[in-house]
């Protein structure tokens, strides 16, 4: 397979996180199927990509802190907690839905 092949995925933000991403809750993205080393891309790769390429807000630490998705954000792969799917090592599949949920505390 050529490393230039792209896959389509949907990335969504909720709980206020969308404010960091141009106030758009749903992003249809086309991302390279392989990373620069020729490895299939993972959710970990996606987080970095979102932070560097998609997020225009300068407050990167509201999304990624110390190299990890910041505490208080849940990552869901096709509506299941990414901890059930191998966390950052999960290999993205075409049409995957990746949802980032910021925990709410109001009442």
């Amino acid at each position: 397979m050529a490393s230039t092949e792209d896959i389509s995925i949907i990335v969504e933000f909720t709980g206020g996180l969308e404010m960091l991403f141009s106030d758009e809750r749903k992003h249809k993205l086309s991302v390279p199927a392989k990373d620069s080393k020729g490895e299939a891309i993972t959710v970990g790769w996606l987080v970095e990509y979102l932070c560097e390429e998609v997020m225009k807000d300068t407050r990167k630490e509201m999304f990624v802190l110390d190299g990890h998705v910041r505490p208080g954000i849940l990552v869901l792969i096709n509506d299941a907690d990414w901890e059930l799917e191998g966390e950052a090592t999960y290999t993205l599949q075409p049409n995957d839905n990746i949802l980032f949920v910021s925990t709410l505390h109001g009442g």
Partner: protein
């Protein structure tokens, strides 16, 4: 729960008849509701509708914890209070409404906030807890005491146009038993940085958004109680996942159900390796304020 021929009074048959004929409730469910005690922590936008529907359904004992007083800015969403109650303790205002809706129940007023010091003595009086508060410090404290005292916990939150709901520690098996439901720390092992935390006062909230979440908390409580699931039995088998219901008023679809994890093997609160105890909690050695940051939110996230 006496199995007599007429276990309820004629007033009770009249008042609860419409829900007793619902499959899964019946007389047994109604008797379980009558025998149950529920603690509602927070008499705000979540606690108001939750309390109303629990009292309507006939939950025998309802306790409410809140140290705040009613303010005019609460009234668009905290629908048990009324304009003439501004300045009164929220707990007293709420209970005066509940008594007029259903005078046949026992209501307990706890008019100060839940703290590490008072949480054991308050929570131990109840079968089930609803977290209707609005700050992460209270959410960790409530989850911890529910784990220690083996109480199921129905937790909800809301902000702006979004809401979230999870049933935690259900079944409420002892720490170390993997068949128990996950706790708040299993889902959120690390607290969010203080600057990422926004309250309804700062971020705003639509009344019906928080209202829907509060009503759904009452429903989850009624399902657990009437279904006989308050007390976890035996060791159970396998692991129990939790699920989170997400609500976004402007999204399509507005509701989404997420599958969360089971108990975390190294959870600080509910695992075999737990570092939490009633003593450490009560002694103040866990600083829930520092833990989540003491500062007022500086950001709008």
């Amino acid at each position: 729960v006496t199995p007599g021929k007429w276990p309820l009074s004629s007033e009770e048959y009249k008042r609860y008849g419409r829900q007793m004929i619902v499959p899964n409730i019946g007389i047994q469910g109604q008797l379980r509701l009558k025998a149950a005690s529920v603690l509602i922590v927070g008499a705000g936008g979540l606690g108001c509708p939750a309390a109303a529907y629990l009292a309507g359904a006939g939950v025998g004992t309802i306790g409410i914890v809140d140290g705040d007083e009613v303010e005019t800015s609460n009234l668009h969403r905290q629908i048990l209070h009324s304009t003439s109650k501004v300045g009164m303790k929220k707990v007293d205002s709420a209970i005066s409404y509940l008594k007029s809706l259903n005078p046949n129940l026992k209501y307990n007023a706890h008019t100060s906030h839940l703290t590490p010091e008072n949480s054991e003595s308050i929570v131990s009086q109840y079968d089930l807890v609803l977290d209707c508060t609005d700050h992460p410090t209270s959410r960790y404290l409530i989850s911890d005491i529910c784990v220690l005292l083996q109480k199921p916990l129905v937790s909800a939150s809301a902000l702006r146009t979004d809401g979230q709901l999870i049933v935690l520690n259900s079944p409420s098996l002892p720490p170390g038993n993997e068949a128990g439901g996950p706790c708040y720390r299993c889902v959120f092992p690390k607290p969010p940085p203080a600057e990422s935390v926004v309250s309804c006062g700062d971020g705003g909230i639509l009344g019906p958004v928080v209202g829907v979440m509060g009503v759904l908390q009452a429903l989850e409580a009624i399902k657990l109680i009437a279904g006989g699931k308050l007390k976890a039995e035996g060791s159970g088998e396998g692991k129990t996942d939790a699920s989170m219901l997400l609500f976004s008023a402007n999204s399509n679809p507005p509701f989404r159900s997420l599958r969360l994890r089971s108990r975390r093997p190294k959870c600080f609160a509910c695992s075999a390796a737990a570092g939490l105890s009633l003593e450490s909690l009560a002694s103040g050695s866990l600083d829930y304020l520092l833990f989540c940051g003491v500062n007022a939110p500086v950001s709008i996230l």
